[in-house]
């Protein structure tokens, strides 16, 4: 187990290393940060000074080595735009994104799994068909369009919910959280829902197909023959088995939910790190882009690890040692 974790950690650092190189090359390919940041009125001398101040006068490989040296000491550089450490900026914005992504995933599971279970058990009933049609709509609608529709209806026409922003927050552990205040929850409702829409569809489909596959399997027939109650068969035996794909995919999706909140955050003016990264890409604020991506990679590796671990708990047939 320890060996397995260490190996994963080692591989993770490899992934991070490759990624930082890619980001450096990527930003270099996209454009020149100084041209974007500099005041148009600046003359040539001022432009040269800015290039030097941001350390962009060195050849790319030297810039990378400088970055790497500092990164090893825990310094991921200062934002070109904000002149604050990139990590500080990201940590300031992270809670907003995390609560949105977890909220959306949570919403997807509590809505999607029961609906999927129903649709799987009674595949031919009318409500089940309606659920499936709905699930298709769920991931068919472009997030940004849903977002605007929600704002149009609930904020502009009906006036029930605030259109944008984060509302009141509570500070816990030095971070600001919205989900603990009523006002914050109201602000969260629409972005969370629009972000979770496609996840709900996914959860429904995964659960349903899992149920349908498992219901015809021998162990279910056997359990029934043994005289177990249908509830017990479904909720103990089948449920355990369908959770594997659901956990895998929803786990994988959590990361992409965090990444995808980029769009939701910009539609709802939600001040999370997704919005930070879009703004940073627009101005090629490389330190922030690199730091953000490193955070995301680390998060993903953790998620993957947890998914793999839960795999081995849920399905004893898959052993962690099988990777060696």
């Amino acid at each position: 187990m320890t060996v397995f974790l260490l190996r994963r950690l080692f591989q993770a650092s490899g992934v991070v290393l490759v990624m930082t190189v890619l980001v450096f090359l990527g930003v270099f390919a996209v454009g020149d940060p100084v041209e974007i940041l500099i005041s148009p009125e600046a003359d040539q001398a001022e432009r040269e000074r800015a290039i030097q101040a941001l350390g962009l006068d060195l050849p790319l490989w030297q810039q990378y080595l400088v970055f790497l040296g500092k990164a090893l000491q825990g310094d991921l550089g200062r934002s070109f735009v904000f002149n604050e450490p990139a990590l500080t900026l990201i940590f300031q914005r992270m809670p907003a994104t995390l609560e949105l992504a977890f909220g959306a995933t949570f919403l997807a599971l509590i809505i999607g799994v029961p609906l999927g279970l129903y649709a799987g058990l009674k595949p031919n009933a009318m409500p089940a068909r309606a659920i499936m049609a709905g699930s298709i709509l769920g991931f068919s609608l472009p997030t940004f369009w849903v977002g605007l529709m929600l704002i149009m209806v609930f904020a502009v026409q009906l006036g029930w919910l605030p259109s944008t922003g984060r509302g009141e927050t509570v500070t816990i552990l030095g971070m600001r959280w919205s989900f603990l205040t009523w006002d914050g929850l109201l602000h969260m409702a629409m972005p969370m829902f629009s972000l979770s829409l496609s996840r709900i569809g996914l959860a429904i489909r995964l659960t349903r197909s899992g149920v349908r596959e498992n219901m015809v399997m021998d162990y279910v027939k056997f359990a029934r023959a043994k005289g177990l109650s249908p509830q017990r068969v479904v909720f103990v035996h089948v449920f355990r088995n369908i959770l594997i794909p659901v956990v895998t995919v929803m786990g994988l999706e959590l990361g992409s939910t965090i990444a995808f909140s980029v769009v939701t955050e910009s539609v709802f003016a939600w001040p999370g790190m997704g919005k930070l990264i879009i703004d940073s890409i627009n101005v090629l604020d490389r330190p922030v882009i690199v730091a953000y991506l490193m955070m995301i990679v680390l998060m993903f590796i953790t998620i993957n690890l947890l998914v793999d671990l839960s795999y081995s708990v849920l399905d004893p047939r898959v052993r962690l040692e099988s990777r060696e």
Partner: protein, 497 residues
């Protein structure tokens, strides 16, 4: 109130960027403030004059206090000027405006003199960019101290209460403000960068005031009973840049079979004139901009310093354009690609497409390529393009600014032509600008600037399209003094009478 552009720092000397300057204007004052039409008016200085050809003297306002109670004196001015070039990591420094000053002389607590190497008529204009900070507070302050609000102690009408990076800034009124206390006790300045979301927030009543009203929503907002608009002609010209740099083939113009054309057709003034005459500026202003633009044939709107009164926007004339192209040797036209950003100026990519339609009608097979600003600006800066759409906001509201930056020959020593992406060069224009830059007599200077503008426009160094109208929207019951320089400041809003 909600704004469309993110404020990145409360340090008034960190990043020369309009949204940051707007917030800096709320917290701080400069020696010279700017009127809504961007003319210099007394700020922390009550009067100024040129003592001799290289010395300016400024009389400072007395009895002004910073938010923390410290008195404002000439020491603070000297300190500010010394700090400006030393702000670390600045991606776009204000040192530009301190560089002409060779020496600062404090005459008494409320009189200060600046020496320049050569006669420099633009000094008061430049000083309007430098917001004065408190020496005692900011002695060792970093940009982070400003962002956290600790060091952001100015003399301006608003005090910073809280700054949540990228989300909002909370302000409280400075009741002791020398220009009179603001109309509201508290103001929340929110950043909603998505256009539709910003309009929606206003309609939903979440905010009372928004800037950068999208042109798509203008028609609806004008009908809306709950909302009033405030608007003014801005100082931002949208124009087409052309590649003058290459004698040989330019990369995005080919003949109709896709072969390069030598020499570069854009070096022929007849081709440039044809391109300009092929554009129906009135249709763009009316249909694409929905009225939020004024067609223009020069850099600045009427009423600005250096505006040429009888230089009207060219009217579309497709026949004349075709005749000019034939005369230049292109009876069957050619293929051209027009590049444009798609996230920078109001409707930028839409304007480019409309021009594509119009050029196609004068026989040029036009394709339009729109890119994000991040990609576009680098390509434009390296002059990789042949024709491109771009904009220019003339700060200070006078013609020397666009002349020096956009059409003057590129010169590192003079610091000119830094945004002359097409490498246009006309020695006669340069000579006129040269003379204007050391002319302290305003009427004579304006004549020189007018001549230079007329010359650059006759030669079609750039193709001006229109000047944007700046539009704000607010709930009924408020009124706003619209500003030409696009800055959104809370002190310009007050309850309607």
């Amino acid at each position: 109130m909600a704004v469309g552009a993110p404020i990145t720092s409360l340090d008034p000397h960190y990043h020369q960027l309009s949204p940051n300057n707007a917030v800096a204007d709320m917290i701080f004052d400069a020696l010279v403030n700017r009127s809504p039409r961007d003319q210099g008016i007394p700020g922390l200085a009550t009067s100024w004059r040129a003592v001799d050809s290289t010395t300016w003297e400024f009389k400072l306002r007395e009895g002004v206090r910073f938010h923390n109670g410290n008195a404002f004196t000439a020491d603070d001015v000297a300190f500010t000027l010394a700090r400006v070039p030393r702000v670390p990591n600045s991606p776009s420094s204000f040192a530009l405006y301190t560089r002409p000053i060779t020496a600062v002389e404090i005459v008494d607590a409320h009189t200060i003199r600046f020496k320049t190497a050569t006669p420099y008529p633009l000094l008061p204009t430049d000083l309007a960019n430098l917001r004065i900070i408190d020496k005692e507070t900011a002695e060792n302050a970093t940009t982070e101290d400003f962002n956290a609000g600790r060091a952001a102690q100015g003399t301006g009408p608003w005090r910073v209460v809280e700054h949540r990076n990228g989300d909002r800034i909370e302000f409280a009124a400075n009741a002791q403000y020398w220009g009179g206390a603001p109309a509201f006790a508290r103001v929340t300045y929110r950043m909603i960068t998505n256009d539709a979301a910003r309009t929606a927030a206003l309609l939903a009543g979440d905010v009372d005031f928004i800037d950068q009203v999208p042109t798509a929503d203008l028609a609806r907002l004008r009908r809306e009973q709950r909302v009033v608009l405030s608007e003014t002609v801005g100082l931002r010209i949208i124009f087409l840049g052309l590649d003058h740099s290459r004698a040989g083939a330019t990369p995005f113009i080919t003949d109709n079979d896709g072969k390069p054309i030598e020499p570069n057709p854009l070096r022929d003034v007849r081709v440039r004139r044809a391109l300009s005459l092929g554009i129906d500026r009135a249709a763009i202003a009316d249909r694409v901009m929905e009225g939020a633009a004024t067609p223009s044939g020069q850099f600045l709107p009427a009423g600005s310093f250096g505006h040429v009164p009888d230089l009207a926007a060219p009217r579309v004339n497709a026949d004349e354009a075709r005749r000019l192209l034939t005369e230049a040797g292109f009876p069957n036209g050619f293929r051209i690609t027009l590049h444009s950003p798609n996230d920078r100026y109001i409707n930028d990519a839409r304007i480019a497409q409309a021009i594509g339609q119009m050029w196609t009608r004068i026989g040029l097979r036009t394709s339009v390529e729109a890119q994000t600003w991040a990609t576009f600006v680098g390509r434009a800066a390296r002059t990789e393009l042949s024709a491109w759409l771009i904009g220019w906001g003339s700060s200070g509201g006078e013609a020397s600014n666009p002349l020096r930056n956009l059409v003057a020959s590129i010169s590192r020593e003079k610091g000119w032509g830094a945004s002359n992406r097409g490498h246009y060069s006309n020695p006669r224009v340069d000579a006129l600008v040269d003379r204007a830059m050391v002319e302290l007599d305003n009427p004579r200077r304006e004549t020189l600037l007018r001549e230079a503008t007329q010359m650059a426009m006759d030669d079609v160094g750039i193709i001006p399209l229109h000047i944007q109208t700046n539009i704000w929207a607010m709930r009924r019951g408020l009124q706003h003094e619209a500003r030409a320089d696009e800055l959104t400041r809370a002190q310009d809003v007050r309850p309607a009478r």
